[in-house]
Structure formats: C-alpha cells, structure tokens
Symmetry: C2
Subunit: 326 residues, 2 copies
Amino acid sequence: MSERNLHLVTGAAGFIGSHLVDRLLTAGHRVFGVDNFVRGNKENLRAARQHTGFAFLELDISDTAAFVAALNEVGGMIDVIWHLAANSDISAGGADAAIDLRDTFMTTYSVAQVCREYGVRKLAFSSTSAVYGDHGSIAVHEDIGPLFPISNYGAMKLASEACLTALSEAALDNLWLFRFPNVIGGRATHGVIYDFLDKLEKTPHELRVLGNGTQCKPYLYVDDLLDAILLIVERARDRINCFNIGPEDEGVLVRDIAEIVVDKACRNARILYGSEDRGWIGDIPRFRYAVDKIQALGWTPVCTSSREAVEKAVDAQVSERSGKSA
Amino acid sequence: MSERNLHLVTGAAGFIGSHLVDRLLTAGHRVFGVDNFVRGNKENLRAARQHTGFAFLELDISDTAAFVAALNEVGGMIDVIWHLAANSDISAGGADAAIDLRDTFMTTYSVAQVCREYGVRKLAFSSTSAVYGDHGSIAVHEDIGPLFPISNYGAMKLASEACLTALSEAALDNLWLFRFPNVIGGRATHGVIYDFLDKLEKTPHELRVLGNGTQCKPYLYVDDLLDAILLIVERARDRINCFNIGPEDEGVLVRDIAEIVVDKACRNARILYGSEDRGWIGDIPRFRYAVDKIQALGWTPVCTSSREAVEKAVDAQVSERSGKSA
C-alpha cells in the first residue's frame, strides 16, 4: 500500500485502535478515526491529534444510516477500513446480550454497508479466538470446526466474520480476519490486569479473584499484535485471509497474573480465590492456540512468553495510573 | 417428549413450518404458531386451523420486544421452540442485506431472548448447508472448517447458529441445529421449481434459466426432511446437536430440473440457458454433503434420489396450481 492512503479506523480511541492509529500515522498514512467513547478514551488519541494526517469523528457506528451519512459529508476515498470497534467486556455481554448485538455485530453490519455504499475494497477485522468455542486440549488452528462459540462476545464476532465473508464474495478485494488472543498493554480499557488494578485501588489490602486461579490463557503484548496485523495486511493478499495471532506458549495462570500484579502494584495485598474453574459463563478455562500460519508469514513476537507480556503490561498500566494520580 | 406438550413454531405458515405444524398436531402436541405472512401463506394453515390444539398469532418476530410481550399475554409454558422463520429467498438477500439481517438473524436473536425470558430450555433451529461456504469438491461434514459463507443468507444463518450456541451455554438443555439442503415439495413459497413454474405461467412458450444449467445440487423432499428433524429431536440429546440433512446422492442438474418441469407443466416450452456457471452471486455451482451422522441415527429418506424428489415436488406444485386456477 502506498503512503498517504486513507485508512478508516473504527474504535480509534480504544485500547488497540489507538495504538493502530499511531502506527498508521507514523507509517505516513492519513487516518480517519471514529469512536463513540463508550469504552474508548480521549486521552488515547492525544498523540494522534497532534498529527496533520489525522481526522476524527465522534459517532456510534451501530447506527448504520448515521455512519453512512457521516462519511458522505466527509467525502474522499477510503482505501482500507480497520474495523476494531466492539464490546470488549465479555462478562458484561453475558449479562446483557444486547451489548454484543449492538456494539460488536451491528457495528460490523454498518461497516459492511459502508463498504457497499462507498466501494471500499479492503477491510481488516479484529475477530477473536472466542469464535472457536471450547475445543478442550486441542490446539485450535484456523480451519478447525465446528464453531460453537459459548459467549455472546464470541458469537457476535463469528456473526461478524460471516457477515464480512459474504460481503467479500460480492464486494471486496481483500478481507483480513485477525483472530486475536488476549491482548494486553498500556491504554487497556478492560481485561484481567485492568480489573485487578481497579480492585486494588478500591481495596488495597486484598485482591479477590473470580475463579480458582487455575485458568491458563495465552497473552500477547499489544506492540507484538500490531506488528502481526500490519504484516498480515502487507503480505497476505488472498480474498479472505484468516490468521490466529498469539504467543508461542500455552499461556500463564490467572494465579500468576494475580501475583505479578500484587508484586508490582500493592505488595501487601492478600490474594483470595473463588472455587470455580471458570471466571464466568462463557469463560474457557484452558485454551490452546495454533499460530503456525502467522509464524510462516515471518512473524515472531518480541515478548517471548505470555508471562513476559503480562509483566510488561502491568508495568505500563501501573505507570499510567501513577501518572494520572500524580 | 410426552404428548400435549406446547410447541412454539416460528414461520408456522411457511413451506416447511406449516408441514411441521401438521405433523406436531397429528402427534398429539399443542402447537402455537407465529408468522408475519411476508412469505408464509394463510392457505398453508387450513388443516391446522381445524385443530383444537392449534393457536396462532400474526406477528413480525424480528421486533424482539413485541415478541417477548406477545408471549406474556398468551401465557403458559412453552416446552420446545422450533425456529423456522427466515428469509428463504437467497438472491433477494444478496440484493439487499437488510432482508437477511431482519428476517433471518434478528428473528433468531428474538427467539434467544424469549428463551431467556420464559425459561424455554429446548430449541430446534433450521440452519442450512450455506453456512459452509464453498468447499469445492469436498463432501462437507458437520465439523468441517473454515466456515466462510458466501451469501448473506448463509452468513445470517451462521450468525444465528452462533447466537444460539452461546445461548445454550447459559440457558438451554438441548439445542438442535438442522443444516437443511434444498428442500422441495408442496406449499413451497420459493425455490427453483417454484420459480420455473411461475415463469412458465407468464411465458408458456419459453423457460429462461439463470446460469448455464450445469449447477448440480442435492434436493430433499419435505416429508423426508420432517422425518429427519423429528427423529433428531427424539434421539439426539446432547446440549448441542448439529446435523446435516440431505439425500444420499450428489444431486441433480438444474438442466434436468428444467426438463422435468417443462415435461410435467408445459410440454411445448423451449428452454433457454444463460452462460454463467452460477445462477447469482452467492450461488454455489456444485455442492457435496456428508450425511453419515443423520444416517447413523437411523434415518433414510423415502425418496431415494434428488431426481425422484424433484419429480414428486413438481407433481405436488403443478397439482396445487391447477387447484388454485380451477
């Protein structure tokens, strides 16, 4: 892709979206960001707003007609859409199915309509390992079946993928489906580390953990994720390009994450565990992820383990929080 | 399931829905039907309306709040929901994505909300072979991947499956996913035979066929389909039960269907073919279907071939049309 292309990023003020905006601007592209600031954070766009190549619109893109109309006013040719807007709080979506319907699925439906309306032929989408559902101890690869997601979050991401593969048949040159693992780092708006730090701010003497702490999950540091998706879009040029993205190891225990967080943020806190092997309905206690395909493309993460990623992410978030309170 | 259970059938006035209503009533169950008569037909419920065990409500169930409220007024415990309401016109959904969104996906989302609201623990859903997308010459079995549907129809059916597998994790005892083939027979409201007969009514001297006639697809007669789904619900009792349903052969050519229709309905018509190997975007020219799983359950279709099913269906539809015009 040549420089000065126009990239539309949905969820631009979110955790991963804002990091992507910064990387695209640094690479010389023009970036048009949209976000409704429900989970996104204005602070995340501070660097981007200094940049002449950046434009932004506050908008809830689950309103399809409003999204289509807004782009008509903006004008100009969009070369690529990066659709990252979504609900990112899996357990909130379990309590109320309307959240994932609106924020994950309807935003995708709107993006598809925008592609049809404005002739956008390149689309990158942040899907998730949660589309696979629970395959037990099997390492899931991109072509595994069946796909029976067990959370509304995973369901509405799979629904979104389906919406986009059908779109691609009729109207796209390239569709990139990234199946993200748990991604961690600075600017996070959710996730286990974020929750633990929040809890410790409220009750510095104890950390209550959902579940018994034996859940084991792979974690990827956000910089490594961005390297991966930028590489995929550069090198994978089939009509549909679907990639698992994740670390090489099988993950880190929730128990270990709790200990790292306490060690770095609040040394005297006592850690209290629940009795369940799952944190919530839709949570998968153990998850193994095949990443041969992305590795074959030439990607290796800088953080060599899930544990290292967790340590780096806790450092970044502790430092952000102390900056805010300073 | 004991007799006198209450079964809710969505799409009750549709092609397959109305046949199902009749079979459930004959088996001694009480049936509550809903339909918005967009594709369903009042005439299809003539027999059911004579039955004391049958109640009916005209309603567009894509309006979730209206559906939930309507059942509150009706009262009574629903034992099983058979969700058959959907857009059935694949090419119409290709021209306007909003049709499959509303009539296929949002109806399913509403059904899931009804299950949550009223504690319905058994749900049967008419999915489709179109969730698989194009796997070329491979016979697709239930566990194949990836699932990249190429029509909005297939996409919104896969989206519906995902919505329901997530529901099942939290709130169902049994979910049955039937992946239907092309189903044909009397009362059809769409499909290739229906279209051909419609065309011949307008231009009795010629039949224009979309595509070059070499598309080959499996067809199942509606009575055989009903045997299959009733057997699955009786015998398959996992939490998620997913079954391909189809004939044993690889199908019949569109060219053969055209000749059978002309032979039975309008002997002097000339058949004119297009040049494409697909009838429309999202159409899959050849499709092979693995049905070992349903066969292992003890099901064999009475119609032993797709061709026999086509002949029987053309007879039924020609006879219905002559009844109407008499």
